[in-house]
Symmetry: C2
Subunit: 137 residues, 2 copies
């Protein structure tokens, strides 16, 4: 049985939007921390399911985004959840290094403080400049 056959039912249950994308929440399988929200098209979702490593679709670069290809900060897939109307996915993962290109563990590293400001609430887990050879924006 080919991989595409094994995942046919699941792929059929996913409702991709008008751009052919579905939002995917990457959650640390061990701590429950939400690490990032990114998007997948059918191809990147199938790669993710088959290889058990997160592969997204980069909306800015318009290309497959094999998470960690540059940084080494890959995401091993432990569990895949689909929501009630099929238009959102939770990926429970084991994160190598950190998820965010800034060096923070999570992309959600800022919280709204009572005074209305944005306050850092996460920790740096890798050096983004060393990792990428430049400051990524």
């Amino acid at each position: 049985m080919s991989s595409s056959t094994l995942y046919d039912d699941f792929l059929a249950a996913v409702k991709f939007d008008a751009d052919g994308l579905v939002p995917v929440i990457a959650q640390d399988a061990h701590t429950g921390k939400v690490l990032m929200l990114a998007y997948m098209n059918r191809e990147s979702l199938l790669i993710t399911l088959t290889e058990r490593k997160a592969c997204y679709w980069s909306r800015s670069r318009k290309e497959l985004w094999r998470k960690g290809a540059t940084s080494g900060n890959t995401q091993d897939v432990q569990e895949v959840l689909l929501d009630c109307d099929g238009d959102a996915i939770v990926l429970k993962i084991t994160q190598k290094g950190g998820a965010c290109h800034t060096g923070y563990e999570s992309c959600f590293y800022r919280r709204l403080a009572p005074d209305g400001s944005l306050q850092i609430c996460d920790r740096i887990v890798f050096d983004a400049v060393t990792t990428y050879g430049k400051v990524k924006t």
Copy 2:
């Protein structure tokens, strides 16, 4: 100081998409469980921040969606996180009842099983028929 002034900096940091929406991940503040993914426009986000109860924008009904208005299953906001590029929000909440209109605690109540099927992996926490007076689809 009015509420809109207090949240001006935060609202300015949020990047709404071409439809004026931002995806919002509702996460149980106590267990870390991801409960749902929904969308907010600027107005519903401001209501959420001001009232500390989740208010979304219903893309299907094209109207404000005060979560729990019908079911009583409201979401009290404990913490609001913004991601690195400002285009996704995590809402840490205390959920009354369950988040999903089906009666499950989470909208992500199905997981991909090793055989490729979708397997229930959550618990029913309220009776959807009694709550809504009908089966919601």
